[in-house]
């Protein structure tokens, strides 16, 4: 197979970090080449350089044999490089067809919707994709939106398709369909650069894999001749123990009982359609499901941020349905939010100020209307050392901390607060393996203390490692409950896609 795109010593420096360090790799026509690495290894930056969103600080790029300068996405598109971003760049109020044709060079001043429609339908037929071209993006499911992103690249006749973590929001079945289509594309000569941090996918679908670690290319190998363990070692630089030991067993005493909870979502539709589950003391109950099936709303209702239209939530027997957030927090419920910058941390505040967030009126931190700065400082200092938070001082603005340390601030605060149960929503998203290990250990130690943990995660491996039981949420309901010890990924995957066991 011939080389489609090749980089020589591609380097990208930012003010404080070298994101890509002299990376030389290539993608061939008709191959699926995976780019593997932890969060922060430089995979996205590399692909943005190929796509012209960033300009490399040094190095050369060769496309179809010629050296090229890609100074903007327009250049990349003109060459034939298409990209499907990790976070979609779609325009929700506009239709599928408008999203696909916007910004393309073949677009005339007076938009010819009919011709565009023909061309796009042809592409859809070719790859077996079914979409209503005149539906608005916000009416589509996440999986369908993914297809729109792919069509955008195909519509401009991409020869190289870069996909950045495309399966993050797909069910296992949807991912399979994606892989089938990708393989069909390679048969037609397209080259595919597939960015991921999931080993299973690499082994399943790629021809070759390049591993990045801390900005450097560790190696490029043929997938057929390597193993998951070898790849992990390359990714992380050391052996990772995959199995986690659990010391205790959960109690039978319930700490959180949710019955038939219903709530409206942001868009005047019902987001929770009768959720029922029970969380026990000393148990990790994992909530599996594709993002957008009600997890966010469930956590918000449990924390009192969103109102429940009906149903009940009992905390150790006490009815806390629709009670104010401050009350729920004071009863010993901790919350690690899914979106740390938007829900958990005020970056303009100092570390100490963030550590008291939510308790600024409590007796521990204030006397009367005034804040007690001495006490706040004391407790902040002890938290920082206990959780090993890397920061110049407790008065440093928390916006300057790394993602992992920011998460530690949140953990420190919530662990301190949660005396009964902990609601953890994607607590390890976007973190390095080292920090992920740390968080897992902390969660397990809280579990051993008898605290019930409701853990939502889109990482099935993490779920299988940590959970005692697994519930799957789909379309606002709990669609299945499994014991972790004998759960299989396929089973979970089917449930996540809405296929219940009673279906024929």
């Amino acid at each position: 197979m011939e080389t489609l795109i090749r980089t020589e010593e591609l380097t990208k420096r930012f003010p404080r970090v070298v994101a890509n360090d002299a990376i030389s790799l290539d993608v061939r026509y008709g191959e699926i080449h995976c780019l593997l690495g932890e969060n922060g290894a430089g995979k996205s930056t590399f692909s943005e350089c190929l796509y012209g969103a960033y300009q490399p600080t040094a190095g050369r790029i060769f496309f179809m044999g010629q050296q090229v300068q890609i100074s903007s996405p327009a250049d990349a598109i003109a060459l034939g490089i298409g990209m499907v971003h990790q976070h979609f760049v779609l325009v929700p109020p506009l239709t599928v067809i408008e999203n696909i044709i916007a910004g393309t060079s073949s677009l005339s001043q007076l938009v010819d919707y009919r011709r565009a429609e023909e061309e796009i339908l042809q592409l859809c037929d070719q790859y077996g994709v079914e979409l209503d071209l005149y539906a608005k993006i916000r009416q589509l499911s996440v999986g369908e939106q993914q297809w729109v992103e792919i069509l955008k690249a195909l519509y401009v006749k991409a020869k190289l398709l870069i996909l950045d973590e495309p399966t993050a929001v797909l069910t296992p079945q949807e991912s399979d369909k994606l892989f089938d289509v990708l393989q069909e594309m390679t048969r037609e000569g397209l080259g595919i650069l597939f960015i991921t941090h999931k080993l299973k996918e690499v082994m399943r679908v790629s021809d070759r894999v390049s591993v990045l670690r801390k900005g450097k290319l560790v190696a490029t190998v043929d997938t057929a001749s390597t193993t998951k363990e070898e790849l992990t070692k390359m990714m992380v630089g050391r052996e990772i123990v995959f199995n986690v030991e659990k010391e205790t067993i959960p109690s039978v005493e319930p700490v959180l009982e949710i019955s038939d909870l219903r709530a409206m979502g942001d868009r005047e539709q019902e987001a929770l359609k009768g959720v029922s589950l029970t969380l026990h003391k000393g148990e990790i109950l994992a909530l599996a499901g594709v993002a957008g099936n009600g997890q966010k709303e469930l956590y918000e209702v449990l924390m009192g941020v969103r109102s429940a239209s009906s149903g009940k939530v009992l905390l150790q027997g006490e009815d806390i349905t629709n009670k104010p957030t401050s009350y729920i927090m004071s009863r010993g419920v901790g919350h690690i939010p899914g979106d740390r910058l938007n829900e958990g941390l005020i970056t303009e505040f100092s570390v100490a100020e963030n550590l008291i967030l939510g308790e600024q009126r409590s007796k521990s931190y204030s006397s009367g209307p005034l804040l007690d700065f001495k006490k706040i400082k004391e407790i902040a200092r002890s938290q920082i050392s206990k959780f090993d938070i890397v920061t110049p001082s407790e008065d440093t603005s928390s916006g300057t901390l790394s993602g992992g340390n920011q998460q530690k601030v949140i953990l420190a605060r919530e662990f301190q607060r949660c005396s009964l149960c902990l609601l953890a929503n994607q607590p390890t998203r976007g973190l390095d393996i080292g920090v992920i290990e740390y968080v897992h250990r902390q969660l397990l130690s809280k579990r051993a203390e008898g605290i019930g943990i409701l853990l939502a995660s889109d990482d099935l491996d993490e779920i299988l490692d940590l959970a005692d039981r697994i519930v799957v949420i789909y379309d606002g309901r709990i669609i299945g409950i499994l014991d972790a010890s004998d759960a299989k990924i396929e089973e979970i995957g089917l449930l996540m896609a809405g296929v219940e066991e009673t279906d024929p």
């Binding site: 938007n342 941390l345 303009e348 967030l357 804040l371």
Partner: protein, 360 residues
């Protein structure tokens, strides 16, 4: 045009965005803005056909040249301290209260009403009563947009601006109707009761008790914002309203409370200004303090200490400009242009401090 991603300009330099604004840049922003505004003023003065040095000197002398001048500068600064503080408290919560102008008028209206209704009281009781009602009036006019924002998500910027106009018409109605001085030709009230007039601090000047009250309010505002839990919540709301909500801060209550406080301070501006230097309540006498207060708050970096300094600077400009007009003929209106030019340059300087020049 300067592109702000990594587009290359025609030179061998490019502008690149920093991850955080440069500290040096932010510290220099105020002096740079002042100097730039000075330069522009010089151009405007030349355009009016006057001698720049002469005009600036006249302005300086008019503002600081004698004890009387200085005291009068402080008189001009007093309402601006109040409105600047009112805006500061609201802006810290990211509530864009553009209605200080109207809340000030509301305070003046209720203060006048109180002075007439309780006119029998001696000074020592009447003055606090009048000022109390000034804060109440301003607070009420501030609570309206606060409540509308919370209940209906009505944008407070537009609502407060519209309410400014509405209360002007209300004042006009009161002055031409029920409160009209039957003996006067102009639309205004009778003379204000002597007993409600604020005491003068230095004889032969106009500097009145309102100045001291303003400084006190500045101190209270500082304590409120940085030393209390409420202030913590206000700032949290201003930085990350979503996070504040998730952590149990009662956003709705805080919004209404902030608007009440902000309106109250602005109302106090109206009350102290009316009973400090005005003989009667008239239609356009206190025009502009609310809007200038916004500029003062921005120049003061939303910090009470800075607000006091900025207010004094702007008061100096206003005070000095009348002498400048007498001596050189440059219209007093220059001052209103300068005040906003300072802020525009300040914002531009702040914006620029987010960039750095790098060799390609």
């Amino acid at each position: 045009m300067i592109g702000v991603d990594e587009k290359v300009t025609k030179l061998t330099f490019k502008f690149q965005r920093r991850t955080e604004p440069s500290r040096l840049g932010q510290a220099l922003a105020v002096p740079v803005a002042l100097v730039a505004a000075l330069a522009v003023s010089s151009i405007l003065i030349r355009a009016a056909g006057a001698n720049v040095a002469e005009a600036l000197e006249a302005m300086y002398l008019g503002a600081f040249g004698s004890q009387n001048a200085l005291l009068e500068t402080l008189v001009q600064a007093t309402p601006l301290i109040f409105t600047g503080l009112a805006v500061t408290v609201a802006f810290r919560a990211r509530i864009w209260n553009i209605g200080a102008e109207g809340q000030l008028v509301a305070g003046a209206i209720t203060a006048y009403w109180a002075s007439v209704t309780f006119s029998g009281l001696p000074s020592i009781a009447l003055i606090p009563t009048v000022l109390f009602f000034a804060t109440v009036g301003g607070a009420l006019w501030g609570i309206i947009p606060g409540y509308l924002k919370v209940r209906f998500e009505a944008d407070e910027i537009i609502v407060t601006v519209l309410l400014n106009y509405v209360i002007q018409y209300l004042l006009s109605y009161l002055l031409s109707g029920p409160w009209r001085d039957p003996n006067a030709f102009f639309i205004q009230t009778r003379l204000l009761p002597e007993a409600a007039t604020l005491p003068i601090l230095f004889s032969k000047s106009r500097l009145h008790l309102g100045f001291v009250i303003a400084l006190t309010v500045a101190f209270v505002a500082y304590v409120l914002l940085w030393k209390t839990s409420l202030g913590y919540e206000i700032r949290a709301l201003g930085y990350r309203p979503n996070v504040a909500r998730h952590k149990g801060i009662n956003v709705a209550k805080t919004i209404v409370l902030v608007m009440a406080i902000s309106g109250a301070i602005a109302g106090l501006a109206g009350g102290t200004e009316l009973f400090g230097i005005h003989p009667r309540l008239r239609l356009d006498a206190m025009h502009g303090f609310g809007f200038t207060g916004i500029l003062v708050a921005l120049l003061g970096r939303l910090h009470p200490g800075g607000v006091v300094l900025a207010a004094i600077l702007f008061g100096a400009l206003v005070n000095g400009s009348s002498r400048m007009q007498i001596v050189t003929g440059v219209p007093v209106a220059l001052v209103y242009a300068i005040q906003s030019i300072v802020i525009l340059f300040l914002m531009a300087a702040d914006g620029l401090s987010r960039f750095q020049l790098r060799k390609r």
